[in-house]
Point group: C2
Chain length 242, copies 2
DNA sequence: TTTGCACGAAATATATAAATTTTTGTTGCA
DNA sequence: TGCAACAAAAATTTATATATTTCGTGCAAA
């Protein structure tokens, strides 16, 4: 009874449609930096790499354009969204503004359940190593996932799906910058302490403190990336986009 | 990112490509309510109505999904995004939050140029009749355009393209609700006075007043729509979306 | 109630048309 | 005579249309 429908559902779940599958794969490659900023996304290259045809690819590229990870120049094809100092600064500023707002509203609507979920999210994150190797930095996907969940939980109680979605979009775009300079960020900071402090402020209902800690957290991350000469080699290379 | 939905709106009509053309037309029909909420968007119907083929249509529908005007159920086709009391309330709440933020930042970064642009936008709006006929209400597209420009100008000096784009998206979604009950809203209010008051507060640097007036403006609009029995016939018909 | 078949609709692949870019050739000027 | 610039055509690539396959839904029969 339950088993048949459940099994059918389970079999469908992993990869529903071709377009969604290639969307997920492309997204992953964009966020990780394997597809470098500014690169032209030629159809021939994409169809060969992802072993699919133009139609689902166009669909995926259109969705990614809406996410701000791909740029679509009319009748000139698709490009990986470019990066620039200015954009990094603006995205960070916007994220601080909007997440401050969302965090305050989340705290204003606080419930014991939400606080418990937050406590768990922080606990799990703190127990997970950021790097897979202790000698050199090797990205731990599980840490990234839990990091995401923690920040999402902070703002997740604000009561607005659209605001949460917007924060997610900003997080994605900034995540790409972070990945590009992740080696430098590794040794220099104690992000775990920062997360712990934010959570503590939330649980003790200190909204102003929580907001200050959260914005400082984001600003420090941006500063580390901005100082990275490998990403922004030129001084004052504003990289204005057309 | 520059190519997100609200900015696509700003680039009004360079629609040289088929997909952009049908996007604009579909968008217009969705916002006006000609395509009613919840309706299934069958490919055959769409290709006949808009005289184009599936590929550019799918492209347009994907963009509109990102804008929140169309819903895409995997392998079950596209639907006009449904409406509900809850969504109207949530969108209004979010718009008040986010535009308050954007307005404060706009005012904090105020320049004589921006103030002049705002003055002009309000002036032009006040000189344009809201209805084409004086006896009964008939939507004046020019008023709608100028109304949009005015509100966009208020937040346009905040210094964040992504925030402006997000506000535009919220405005679009709420515009659809407003259009559905526009007859009732017509006689009861003096929106022109409200716009004038908001502008006056901005020009005299009274940020708290400006924000209070702006949020009151949006809340009153939502209240009028919520009272409309033709749109929300049932009491507490929450219309939760899947 | 369940299972299989048939019909309809959506997703994908391929072919065709349109547009842009690059390359090559010619012409004009130094 | 050599170099540069402009123009035209070819090649590459994007955008669109059509055909094919795959998938969901409803009905009927066991």
């Amino acid at each position: 009874m339950v088993t048949t429908s459940a099994l059918r559902l389970a079999s469908v779940t992993p990869s529903c449609t071709q377009a969604s599958t290639v969307y997920d794969r492309l997204r992953e490659d964009l966020l990780s930096g394997r597809l470098e900023p500014g690169r032209k996304l030629q159809m021939r290259f994409l169809t060969e790499t992802y072993q699919t045809s133009q139609t689902p690819l166009r669909e995926a590229l259109n969705r990614l354009t809406a996410d701000g990870l791909v740029e679509c120049r009319e009748q000139r094809g698709f490009y990986v969204a470019d990066i620039s100092r200015n954009e990094l600064i603006e995205l960070t500023k916007t994220r601080c503004w909007v997440e401050s707002l969302a965090l305050r509203e989340s705290m204003a609507a606080s419930t014991p359940q939400w606080e418990e979920v937050l406590l768990l999210a922080e606990h799990r994150l703190s127990r997970t190593p950021r790097s897979l190797k202790s000698e050199h930095f090797e990205d731990n996907p599980e840490w990234e996932r839990l990091h995401r969940v923690f920040h999402r939980t902070l703002i997740g109680n604000c009561g607005s799906q659209s605001l949460i979605a917007f924060c997610g979009q900003l997080a994605d775009q900034l995540y790409r910058y972070r990945r590009l300079s992740i080696q430098r960020a590794f040794p220099s900071r104690h992000v775990s302490d920062e997360h712990q402090a934010i959570m503590a402020a939330v649980l003790s209902k200190q909204a102003d403190d929580a907001v200050a800690l959260l914005t400082a957290h984001y600003k420090q991350t941006a500063d580390v990336i901005l100082r990275d000469q490998k990403i922004f080699p030129e001084l004052q290379n504003d990289g204005e986009r057309a």
